[in-house]
Amino acid sequence: MRKLREMLRRSLRADHERLLDTAADARSTRPAPGPADPLADLLRAAAAPARERELAGEEAAVAAFRDAHRPAGAVSATRRRRHRGFTAGAVAWIAGLAATATAGAALAAVGLDRAGPPSPPAVTTSPAAPVPSTSVGTPTGKPAAEPAAAPNAPTAPTPSTARADGPTGDAATVPPSPTPHAPVTPNPEATTQVGPGNSDNTTDRPGLCRAYLAKSERQREKALRTPAFNELVVAAGGAEHVEEYCRGLRAESTANPTTGP
């Protein structure tokens, strides 16, 4: 008797496994003819093909994808943010050290420069300049030693000097830099971009905006009450300004020629 019950239980369990296995695959097929099985019907209904409104977020998702896979220069910020774990932490930390070190050199240099010819102000260096993100990604050694890169793109050496500089302990690379006060400005910038605290996607405001703009009126209102979009509310200076802010951001990014696909 007990054996029989055990057998029944096993066979029921096997039936269930079969039901679970077939439910998702049965999406496209109509219920198989045969004895009506309400449980199979239920699972089939639960795994039914997509309804229109379930795919409402498609454009937002694709936009996020496009954003993440934008080619060349425009992607560098995103990609750099993606460097996580030890590398990001180490680079940020070393960059911080380099900032401190070069700040001293910069102060000294400013003092010297006063007497010399006027040098281009550090502020004009565009933060978009840090070119090939590959120089960050590949541990190729000391690109900073290349003299060609230094004068034109003072921002570029920041991560690479830090990299070449830190592990080897070769502190001599920093002081002789041709424009010592230049790296001082971009350094904090680099730190905020690669900082380990920023790995969360909440810093992706264009992405958030795109997600926000892709929503319907009703959903937008609801979305702004969620913590995910809270940053947008703060950045825009109030829930009622978010749309304006996002449109502005979008116009800005479309106006920028480098962001084209």
């Binding site: 029921l12 679970l20 296995d21 996020a64």
Partner: protein, 214 residues
Amino acid sequence: MTGELSRQVEAARAGDEDAFRHLYRSLQPGLLRYLTALVGADAEDVASETWLQVARDLPTFTGGEFRAWAVTIARNRAMDHLRRQRRRPALPVPVQELSEMAGDADTAERAGESLGTEAALAMIASLPPREAEAVLLRAVIGLDAETAGRVLGRRAGAVRTAAHRGLRRLALLLDQRGAATTSAGSDDVPTVPTGDARPRQRAGLPPQAEPVDG
């Protein structure tokens, strides 16, 4: 199907937008349904957060089961969401709201079907969280027991048992539902369209109960 899926994943990783779109379309419905069982009405928000992260992290995806990877992200997002919710003054979604969602959602689609998708999902969501998750990952997302176990941080055997118990409970609910339909007219038994909320209460568990972590 799995071969097709991994081909699409490869293409998407290489930047193919259409491939990504395809991934979205094939996974999103199941993801949304799963998330609805976890976080209720906020599922859509959690799903879009999930896709933002999937789009961003796709290049770091190192292979394996794509769906399991994406569902793990979704589940983590849902847990974060519930944690944040717990910190704020709680505003639990009342059972009525869920059953209204189930009711008004797709009446048209339901016509002619014995049981609508929303009603079916509402019934599954009424199960104890472990069982609901196991059933949804297996039947709706289409993961096998091993993969579902990896997502849930449990052994495949435990997933099988949970799913099995869940189905037994669902069969029981369906029986009661069937009995209710045949004896329609008496006061305390609901008729089919409004019956959604009833089995959930009979199961005796709040639909918002948090899935057990780990």
